[in-house]
């Protein structure tokens, strides 16, 4: 399963308050749309740390948190895959 799919599944199942039937799209603005709040952001950071060993809380820039796509790119960058 790709990082994007794993993130999508986690966010749709555990984070978004209004989990719509279509789930979370890869390019959907997470925070700016109001679907992810500060607590949700911490949940996502915790998931990323646990599953990918990446501490985005300390190294990430705000642009990394915009969408599932940008989160996945930040994880790959931190793991030296890009």
């Amino acid at each position: 399963m790709s990082i994007e799919t794993e993130l999508q599944e986690f966010i749709a199942a555990e984070v978004v308050v209004d989990a719509a039937a279509e789930g979370v799209l890869v390019d959907e603005p997470l925070v700016r749309s109001g679907r992810v709040d500060s607590m949700g952001l911490l949940q996502i950071l915790g998931f990323i740390q646990q599953h990918y060993g990446v501490d985005l809380a300390s190294t990430g820039e705000p642009s990394d948190f915009e969408t599932v796509t940008s989160l996945a790119a930040a994880i790959r960058r931190s793991r030296g895959e890009v």
């Binding site: 749309s33 109001g34 500060s38 911490l42 990430g60 705000p62 642009s63 948190f65």
Partner: protein, 536 residues
Amino acid sequence: METLLDLIERGAVHAGAEKVAVRAGERGERSLTYGRLLEGARSIAGRLGRAGVGRGDRVGVWMEKSPATVQAILGILYAGAAYVPLDPRSPWRRCRTIAMDCGMSSLIVDALSLPSLPDLLDGWSPRLVLVDTGSEEARGALASQALRVPVETLAAAAAAAPDRQAARPSPEDLAYLLYTSGSTGTPKGVVHTHRSGTAFTRWVLERFAIRSDDIFSSHAPFHFDLSISDLYAALGAGATIHLIGTTEAMLAPYLVRKVPEWGITVWYSVPSILVAMLDRGGLERTGFGRVRILFFAGEVFPTPQLRRLRRALPGVGLYNLFGPTETNVCTYYEVPPDIPDDTTAPIPIGRACEHLETFVFDEDGQEVGEGVEGTLWARGGNLMQGYWNDHERTAASLQPDPRGRPGLAYCTGDHVKLLASGDYQFLGRRDHMIKTRGYRVELGEIESALTAHPDVLEAVVVPLPDPQLGNRLVASIVPRTGRQPSPGELRGFCTERLPLYMVPEQLEVLLAFPRTSTGKADRQALAHSWTTKEGV
């Protein structure tokens, strides 16, 4: 008397047209100089004026924070109207409720709001909608929407010829309406005039000797009253504002890295983000760059965490600013150079701001002095004009001065006690005072006991209605990073410090608290979660 615009124009003369007034972005790359900010604002005012917007009208601002948003706000003030900042992350239905409540005449939005516009405008016809489109793509999306109301881009309005005939507002005109969540669930609009906004801003400028070389952070969203100081004290001094965006505002380690880079000298936020910067951001290791003044407000700062902050920033002026949106700040307290290790009680809220008067009345309607509990009242230039369209609520809050002096005073609903030092101690909100097992209990006192535990970062106590006991007490806590105190251990810790009836029956340990859009711990969400769990 003067208006907020008089104040800003004086700051602009001091700063010079080429100085950056407002900026945003990771490197401050999006910016407006004083010259461009005010020129564009006057043009926006001209466009609003040609659409029929004028003195006393209310214009909504549903935008993320950006230099264009500040320009839009000033444009509304130049048109003589009042701005109504709407939470950019709130759903369109809430915006619509507010628009209907205040009879909003026009609206300024950004590209993010475009998909919601057809719903928001269904059956509502504002005189003009201005859209900060930002990109070609968004302009295309706007053009493709068949809206029945006049819609134009904000950029075109900001580039148009300013209307030289526009009537400037007077000090008594409305300047802004801030909607706060009412206890009934319906938002209530707190109305402030130029007079009250200016009175508060002048106090900040003078009391804290704000300088034109200061750089203000703007951490709070514009619908939160902390933004009033960020915007008008900064611009009134000819200083620079650095806007912190929604996502940036949540990332504590990022902020600890960036505040020194941005050269911030005046910081203002709720305690929550400062606690996160201490706990997860490493603020104690790195310091806070050039920050010389640090204001906090909106919540009680857990004393052990404030002690860490005090010791981490020895040369910085730390100030607890206190007051509801209705008065903006009414008292303030300068945190002393050290907070002893054995202090666990919250710090005082201090004394009245110099341009205000405060006093305390007890439940029997008697004015009380040192050492006696009562409700805090305030009067003076900062007071709101009232609640929009709610005379009953206004009359209940703004009352004839109970001491019999001419004029109105505001009953804050906050329980306080005057200390021998001349400072007020905050004892809690009247609506946080509950009865359990026949005792009157202040939830904040229990929260202070919990945050005194070395593993606890933050605590919220929730009362659950109970037919036998009045209320049962439960608590949610967030531990410090890497700590995992057990609920049993925490109850034991409370038992040593509180009477048994104040010890929470149940405790839960959370990764983080849900937050309101203003960054405070969301007590309603926590209560709802407990109620759901309990099946009450």
